[in-house]
């Protein structure tokens, strides 16, 4: 059998996944912290202040990566949920549900840091602007997925119900992305592009890219840790969990 296919099948085994997550979680967090340390240092001390916004623009270095993560995680959650619904792969159910709290956390950071930036720049903490409102709806969708998953006792039925909500909710993502184009929005349009030309000075970009990479690494660490916790919860009572608990005494 192809080694990649074999590895994929092995990963579906709960004890194997537990060992995998236990092994790689510290690496993902460790790398995330290193890259984030560089990104934060650059954001706070290396890049010059913006000529119009002053130092308040430094909030962008946590706001933009968090906003990207809030949408990327929702898309990933919907993909895992779709795979879990079609092929009934338990690990994908676990991974989909582990995405929800991390995505909710990044969405919360996006909303709060945007609000903190908005007060001095727009003169208000909040405006019912299309971008802000759709991002708030995204947070409610995440909370809906988390709530639905925890409201049903049967873990598999709960994951299917919450996964369906994630799949339906993915329709919101293009609305968030294009909200600044489709409607007359207070929120600024796209200024940073990974592949095209960015409207930011090149000297300001390296810490931003570092933060984008760091949040992704952080997400991997958090996803593995949360999926491991849910895996243990679902497998409680199985021999391998009892052995693991005994070994960790």
């Amino acid at each position: 059998m192809n080694p990649v296919v074999r590895w994929f099948h092995q990963l579906g085994s709960p004890p194997y996944f537990d060992r995998f997550a236990q092994r790689w979680t510290p690496w993902a967090y460790g790398l995330a912290v290193l890259v984030m340390a560089y990104g934060l240092y650059g954001a706070l001390f290396m890049v010059p202040a913006d000529y119009q916004q002053g130092d308040s623009f430094r909030i962008l270095y946590i706001h933009v990566p968090s906003a990207w993560m809030s949408m990327a995680i929702f898309a990933l959650m919907a993909i895992y949920a779709a795979i879990a619904l079609v092929w009934r792969i338990k690990l994908c159910e676990i991974l989909a549900m582990a995405c929800a709290p991390i995505g909710a956390a990044f969405t919360l950071v996006t909303l709060v840091t945007g609000s903190i930036w908005g007060k001095p720049m727009w003169g208000t903490w909040w405006d019912w602007d299309p971008r802000l409102t759709t991002e708030l709806i995204l947070l409610f969708l995440y909370l809906g997925v988390i709530g639905l998953y925890n409201a049903i006792d049967d873990r598999r039925a709960a994951a299917r119900a919450a996964g369906l909500l994630a799949i339906v909710g993915v329709a919101l993502l293009p609305v968030i992305h294009y909200s600044v184009t489709w409607w007359n929005s207070l929120h600024q349009g796209q200024t940073i592009s990974l592949f095209g030309k960015s409207h930011m000075d090149p000297s300001m970009l390296p810490p931003l890219f570092a933060m984008i990479v760091a949040t992704k690494l952080w997400f991997i660490g958090s996803l593995l840790a949360r999926a491991r916790a849910d895996n243990l919860r679902r497998e409680a009572g199985k021999d391998w969990v009892r052995k693991l608990a005994g070994a960790m005494q």
């Binding site: 130092d55 909030i59 946590i62 950071v109 001095p120 958090s222 009572g237 009892r242």
Partner: protein
Amino acid sequence: MSYQNYVVAAYAVFAIVLAWDFVAPRLQIRRELRAARLRVARDNSRNGSTELTR
């Protein structure tokens, strides 16, 4: 630094949320393993008891 309070507040929110995201799954894993240990202890004490075989 201009707008220092706003910058500090935003970075503090980021740090607090990430700290919660780091701690929460760890606590859950610890809880699950402790529950498994208690289950093993309970089963062992039940198997060792002569109460039902008397």
